[in-house]
Amino acid sequence: MEFQVRLFLLLAVLLILCEFGSCRYYQVTEGDTGWTTGVRQSSNISLDISGSAIGEGTFYRYTETDFNDVRMRERIAAAHDTLDTAERIRLIADTTNPWEYTIEKFSGGQNYRITVNESWPVAMFARRSIDYLGKGISDQDIFGNNLDYVGASYSFAKDLKMDRSCLLYLNKAWFELGMNDSTKAIYTDQFLPTKSIDYQLNSRFQGLASFKYRQAEGHTMTKERHTTTSEGLETYAGKFQLNRHIFMASLNRGYLNNDDDWLVCCPTKPSLEERIFAVSYHAS
């Protein structure tokens, strides 16, 4: 009987795994409850951009980066005038480590636990300076790291001098679902990435500016379902010196903390490939 329940649960879990080239992604979904890790993807990649520009004219910039939800977005448009800008972006993402997926049943009931332990580290450092005097510049950037974000924007700024740096680091991510297979009730739902954002901003401007940040405790159903642990929004209009340093981290959580419990529960831990095979086998 227990085997049948276990079999049913295993069939309800949909696992998508794909690898092509250096890119890997997966998604784990529990069909009865709709619980999902969402699509997690990353690549083995390194990126190093540096450069500068100085001159007179118009300037536009579009930057979009997203590796395993470690994100950077920049949008800049400057009207015709003088500008001096320099930047450095470095990014390293590594997917050589396996990610691990487990299902365990607690004896004496229909409680199950599904865990996903991902160790695809991403590190990104972005530094940019800009010095603009003219009719107006719009400069927005936002950095995100698995539900957390920090960003600043300047609009209609006739005078903008800014030095900004941001270091984003994702070490690993831990998903955990605890559910009862009879009632389909979820009793625990956790998404605990080990991550940090170190954002530093020194700016002087005349115009409109806003600065915002959020640090979240996340759930994995959807990214909107999260608990905000800290959040801030500031808006400025006029002539200001705006300096900020924000360091937010979620450390020492996830797989390592749960490692001992997991070993007690399931001393024989099959590899990822065996798990995938097992799912396929039962499905057929």
Binding site: A53, G55, D131
Partner: protein
């Protein structure tokens, strides 16, 4: 005349006539004032020939020189007219300012550079904190925008894009900045000078160059209406032989 003023004028005459030999230029001064404009007409004569004449406006209370102007003279008898628009100079880097800065009208710049080198201010350049200071001159245009920084040998530490365009239109400013400008934004600084009758030349606190060279480091020279006074006006004349003479008077309120 107040005794202190008399002593001050005597002191200035002594200071400015130290190198004088037996023959000194003779100076006759006539002043006229219309509103805030003071005109000083100096009739200067020296049988050995004249070299230059310099106007000094000193604030009586502090002894600070708030305005100075120099003219090159030729001949042995010259009438030269100076005008003081009742203003003093201040210099700002966008966040801090100093005044009254020692600023003079640039003498004899080349024709193509002249619009950008209208005023010059001696200063001490610190390329980086802890480095030895370098004696330099900062040049400003008529609107007070910073265009050039040169040392006494003529080595140029900074040239604005407008000045570069005037003297070398084919050169890219970005390339020029990369290859020629050693000033470091946020680290390099300039210390402009204050001339005082008692203490001589004194450097002001450093103004850090906080903005890009393409923004002229946001270093600006600004003329500002001078306080009501009282002031002491002086003319110093130099002969071709190197002899000097000076004549001072107190400007009535």
């Amino acid at each position: 005349m107040h005794p202190r003023t008399g002593l001050l004028i005597l002191f200035l005459m002594l200071i400015f006539s130290l190198p004088a030999q037996c023959t000194q230029p003779e100076i006759q001064l006539t002043e006229t004032r219309e509103g805030n404009n003071l005109t000083v007409l100096a009739d200067i004569a020296d049988p050995n020939g004249l070299a230059s004449a310099t106007l000094y406006i000193l604030e009586k209370k502090s002894g600070d020189v708030v305005w100075t102007e120099q003219r090159i003279l030729q001949g042995s008898k010259v009438s030269v007219s100076f005008r003081w628009p009742w203003r003093t100079w201040r210099i700002s880097n966008g966040t801090h300012l100093i005044e009254p800065a020692l600023v003079v009208k640039t003498i004899d710049p080349s024709a193509e550079e002249a619009p950008y080198l209208v005023y010059s201010a001696p200063c001490l350049l610190n390329i980086s904190p802890g480095w030895p200071p370098i004696a330099t001159t900062a040049y400003f245009d008529e609107e007070g925008q910073f265009h050039s920084l040169r040392d006494l040998s003529g080595n140029e530490f900074y040239k604005s894009r407008e000045l570069l365009r005037a003297v070398s239109p084919e050169t890219s400013y970005g390339r020029y900045v990369q290859d020629n400008i050693s000033l470091s934004v946020g680290r390099s600084s300039l210390r402009f000078l204050l001339l005082n009758q008692d203490t001589g030349l004194n450097p002001f606190p450093a103004l850090v160059l906080e903005r890009s060279p393409i923004q002229h480091y946001t270093l600006t020279l600004e003329g500002r209406t001078a306080s009501p006074g009282p002031y002491i006006v002086g003319i110093e004349a130099s002969s071709a032989a190197g002899n000097k003479a000076a004549k001072f008077f107190e400007l009535p309120l």
